[in-house]
Subunit: 407 residues, 2 copies
Amino acid sequence: MAVGDISVPSTIHAIEGIRLSATAAGVRYKDRDDLVVIELAEGTSAAVVTTTNAFCAAPVRILREHFDAAAPRYLVINTGNANAGTGADGRGRAEAVCQALADKTKTAVEAVLPFSTGVIGQPLNSDAIITGLDKALDTLSADSWLAAANGIRTTDTIPKLASEQVDVDGTRYHVTGISKGSGMIRPNMATMLGYVATDANIPADVLQQMLSAVNEQSFNRITVDGDTSTNDCCVLMATGKASDDIIDSPEHPHYQALFDALSRVFVRLAQLIVRDGEGATKFITVKVTGGKTTEECCDVAYAVAHSPLVKTAFFASDANWGRLLAAVGYAGVPELDTEQVNVSLDDVLICQKGGLAPEYVEEQGAAVMSRPEITVHIDLGRGDASDTVYTCDLSYDYVKINADYRS
Amino acid sequence: MAVGDISVPSTIHAIEGIRLSATAAGVRYKDRDDLVVIELAEGTSAAVVTTTNAFCAAPVRILREHFDAAAPRYLVINTGNANAGTGADGRGRAEAVCQALADKTKTAVEAVLPFSTGVIGQPLNSDAIITGLDKALDTLSADSWLAAANGIRTTDTIPKLASEQVDVDGTRYHVTGISKGSGMIRPNMATMLGYVATDANIPADVLQQMLSAVNEQSFNRITVDGDTSTNDCCVLMATGKASDDIIDSPEHPHYQALFDALSRVFVRLAQLIVRDGEGATKFITVKVTGGKTTEECCDVAYAVAHSPLVKTAFFASDANWGRLLAAVGYAGVPELDTEQVNVSLDDVLICQKGGLAPEYVEEQGAAVMSRPEITVHIDLGRGDASDTVYTCDLSYDYVKINADYRS
């Protein structure tokens, strides 16, 4: 059961130059959309980030090669099978899917990027995917973002969409994106897939910089269980249909407004993954301030966000601040003066100068912990750097979901 | 429910020069032994390792100071309250306990080392401990190792003891130890306490080296949930009562036999903590070979041992080798060639050269996974280094235990 505001945007802006479809190809289950195709109009620029996992899946290796060779025209995404840990056979099957799509659309095979998500280590049912491509191509539509968001779900309980419209100097831009993922989520992406498009006119190199920056604030700042998947990928596309005005550098007058819109969409898509975290009953924002470096703030935030003891305390609505302090203490901050550390839960100061705050009473902590959305604010009291990470609690259902997943 | 062989040794060797007692002082619960005192005969040498957590508890800070100032004569251990995150008040209460024990035994306060374990961030009931000291001192006995092992338990379901006897060149040595801990267990100790004594004659500097080495193989190679506690401590004592022959260097003819006996006791005490891991239903040995360095083997072993997805798969008896590979892949081994990686579960080769082993069939994996004790063997195929870590699975009961702990 996802936590808090998980609503689909009331308006999902189509992005001119992008068409999508979702089809039930029977990759693993019957009668469930499991094949999504995204078509990029000619001239669309694209940027990609992929998992850092050494055991990255066959499609990830292929998409890196293809992306280096040509501008992408088609993205083909299947759920139900990650095609990871599948060796040469897995590579061959992913290549076969790309080749079939290239043949059907008369594009170069390098213009097709493959994505797979689902169970690891099983042979990919590439025949089913190839068979499904005809219908997938026949049903491409600019208005199928919601269908595509549903089509890339695995253990996700909700579709994940975000959409923004922004007017700058008389030009109207749109940004729309979808994501999937609810377990195996951690920095450097996860079983995470994300596809975001804008109709702005942005060259590929600038787009790649924008993607790296917004990714760092969003998908690289979420954790459910600390596992980095073999298949994480995120694609940012810019069709250029909104304007001939090329946003070719951060100094361009439209850049910042577009960056902010992208940032909102990415953070929303990332937070939706945590809100839908496997077994999540609480959405936790871990904000660390007062560090000497962003890096140490991030280390502290992740130590807290990864601690099973902290996460089970949130599940139990137990303001067990000792577990929070213990996690701060082992985060590896060099020469941390614990007597400068303050910790708040929402607006309640619970730990002051490394010890229990004098005014704190358990009822205050209990009141905060009963909320479905909680911000843990840790101030290290040693500098001006800060960072923020989003996570969820650890519940019975996390264990249940992951103990049952393959069956 | 603890896993596998958790038996108490049939013979618990008393260590001449060491007396122990366990008393119900009412620190947190009534009618439950929660105060353990260990007396070291004059002339006993001692070595100590303590937690690396920056938020180390008041007693840990005090014991470091005391240990630097004098040879310990008394260890005083309470359960029920960790006296961590308690600031100046906590320090004062721990000092009061030490002073009371020093007064009653007419020793210097620096010869008293305090230890606390239990809930974090609550005021320590030092009055109850001080009141209990009289009975604790009255009941000291060389034969109370089992009572002491029970007296230091918190969420532990079993007492943890190991005892060895070794004859070298006509001298008979004994090594006996106890430990506690079942959650918040990870490298660099945990909610872990360990007390091991021998009647060998070993100077403090040599003893400290031995402790560091055996600790590295044992308590620093176990993980239950990846949390490092604020209170971990381990003490190694050598009374010298077995012989006047001083084991003053690794070249001494008795050194190796004693080291091996210590190593067996430490590894057993560490493994017992994992066997009794909170909610554990399986005992997992993660052995990594073929690395370029011990450090990278250790990184891989811990990545696997910490992965909630791997741990829930073990709980579900699901040979989900994809999750194992994913964890190996994100362990951060530089330039890992995944096509050199082999993975076995016990005697079943499941992953060969980075992919599914050709001969592997699911029934083999299922047969291994049904066992309560499983060795995961990961060969990185790039060198001669190796390392081993012990862990357990992640079950519903882990969540239950840690969600309920404070109530």
